[in-house]
Amino acid sequence: MNQPSQNSTKPESDSPGLKQSAPLEETANNDESTNASPKRSLVSGSNFDRSKPDNKNASTMIDVRDVNFYYGDVQALFNVNLTVPEKSVMALIGPSGCGKSTFLRTLNRMNDIIDGTRVEGTIKLENQNIYDPTIDVVALRSRVGMVFQKSTPFPKSIFDNIAFGPRLSGTTSKSKLTEIVERSLQQAALWDEVKDRLSDSAMALSGGQQQRLCIARTLATNPEVILMDEPASALDPASTARIEDLIFELRKQYTIVIVTHNMQQAARVSQYTAFFYQGRLIEVGPTKELFTNPTEKQTEDYITGRFG
């Protein structure tokens, strides 16, 4: 497969069909979504409706090998090995302080910003090591978007918030920006609520709307991978449900890694789940198997609520 080189800026990110591979998967997903997406059930039995890994032979998007991570002298991640298949949702679960956020931030090198951090091992994004010295971090971050736990709208208008990413890479045409803004807001299921007030401040939106705005903002840069750090932790059940629906929709086009403290949420939105404990990856596998039949004792204890 021919990978675009990462150290050049992303080639023409305007084409919506970013991933050329396997259009068949798209249809497979669509089939499933028609019978799963309209109605969501919180009953635990149907929790796994969406969690079937539906394309077994999907290619690997992220490949993490032997990753150790240090904050100064303190090691926060120990020998993590993990692969995330393309166009799937992987949930990261584990007790507070186990290193989920740290791991997530290694995937788009946001840890670089923190003084005194150090990473060992390799993390490959479509076969390219993102810690290679020749990698351009700016280009990497436009391919691997991130949604933070606390929504962080810019103190600008809704339109300018979404247009920020495309403008960074030099898109100035008003019509093109308008198109991107509308498409991103549609994708993030926010368009209908804000279409009449795009020039209003994004700070005036509700918490749930702000979070969807942040997701839309990330989508506008046309990433391949979206990282989400507890995107729904501060939201009410209705907003949470919308975000979960959204994640389910986004999976058709994007690879998603999501940190969550909510076991039901992990079960509802993800195909794969990774359980972290004290900086170590204890177990990873298809969500349904991990939840119904964990192989490790610690995993079982955690998901049955015996600790954490």
Binding site: N108, M110, I113, D115, V138, A139, L140, R141, S142, R143, G145, M146, F148, K150, T152, F154, P155, K156, S157, F164, G165, L168, S169, S201, A202, M203, C214, R217, T218, T221
Partner: protein, 335 residues
């Protein structure tokens, strides 16, 4: 339990009394400051009454108190502030940006940081001596009676730069810039620090470069704070006398810098703008200081007061600008 409860309540009256006393103390401090300020303002304004008029603003110094004006000093002060701003804003804000946004914390930056705070406390006369050595005399690198002149040919006109600068506006402005730089840097840093880090992270995570993040997120959010700090520092500079005394602001001069005393002059002879930085000059605090030393009682009392009122007027205008910028930009960035 009940014992404790009683003790707790028995003290409650004395606690309220202490609280009340403290409130009274704070109130009297405010009132005292206000009274002193009012008395001062009243006495100055009442003496200046009838002396501050258009003539006072548009005529030069004269031996006769009735004819004396503040024109040269007013223009001198305005140019001084403009040039000081031109020097200190880019350098000060640039340094603050580097220290806050780019540099990683290490021994060198800690050392710089500590010394910035120290420099902010250095008496202004010391900066005067520094300015004298470095700008006015340039370490006596150009010996001889005659001042050497460097001529740079620009397209339409020649720019003549005296070396060393001597007692010219540019010397004064550079000295004042040095004086206020530490405060400009520290207050700019403070405003940059108050920008939430999450804003930077969100921007970087979208694939913005450091500079794009600073330009479109950090600076707009920090601008009101930075502008306020800069303008307050410039207000301090406009009232400075000691360092300018050192670097040789003229006592009495009957010419405005570059011979400009209105927009018309700039339009008819734009070349005169180039002469401004290298003109001899005086400024309002200097002028007031010199009037006080005059024998005639009218000078000591009325002309001086009139000068002070003009100086206060300019200060008030600058502070009003600071408030305006603050409100305007705060509305614009839609928190």
């Amino acid at each position: 339990m009940s014992n404790n409860r009683g003790e707790f309540n028995s003290k409650i009256n004395s606690r309220h009394r202490t609280s009340k006393l403290f409130e009274l103390f704070c109130l009297s401090a405010v009132l005292l400051a206000l009274v002193v300020l009012c008395v001062l303002l009243f006495s100055v304004i009442s003496k200046a009454w009838g002396w501050v008029d258009v003539d006072f603003l548009t005529s030069h110094h004269s031996r006769k108190p009735e004819d004396a004006g503040i024109k040269a000093a007013l223009w001198g002060s305005l140019w001084l502030i403009l040039l000081t701003g031109l020097f200190s804003i880019p350098i000060g804000v640039g340094a603050a940006l580097y220290l806050e946004e780019y540099s990683r914390k290490n021994r060198l930056t800690t050392f710089i940081q500590v010394n910035l705070s120290n420099l902010a406390g250095v008496p202004s006369i010391v900066y005067g001596i520094l300015g004298l050595t470095v700008f006015a005399r340039m370490f006596d690198m150009f010996p001889g009676e005659q001042q050497s002149v460097m001529t740079i040919s620009l397209l339409i006109t020649d720019l003549s730069i005296p070396l060393p600068f001597g007692p010219t506006l540019i010397t004064g402005a550079m000295t004042l810039s040095l004086l206020i730089l530490p405060v400009v840097i520290i207050s700019s840093q403070e405003s940059l620090r108050s920008v939430p880090p999450s804003l930077r992270h969100a921007s970087l995570a979208l694939g913005a470069t450091e500079w794009q993040t600073i330009r479109s997120q950090v600076l707009p959010a920090a601008l009101p704070g930075i502008a306020t700090g800069v303008i307050l520092s410039l207000s301090r500079a406009i009232g400075e006398t000691a360092p300018l005394l050192m670097v040789g602001a003229a006592s009495f001069i009957t010419a405005t810098p570059g011979g400009i005393d209105g927009m018309g002059d700039i339009l008819t002879n734009p070349g005169s703008l180039l002469e401004v930085p290298f003109s001899k000059y005086t400024c309002m605090p200097m002028q007031i200081y010199n009037w006080v030393k005059f024998a005639k009682v009218e000078f000591q009392e009325y002309v001086t007061s009139a000068g002070i009122v003009v100086l206060l007027g300019v200060l008030l205008l600058m502070n009003a600008t600071a408030v305006y910028i603050r409100m305007r930009f705060q509305n614009k960035i839609q928190w």
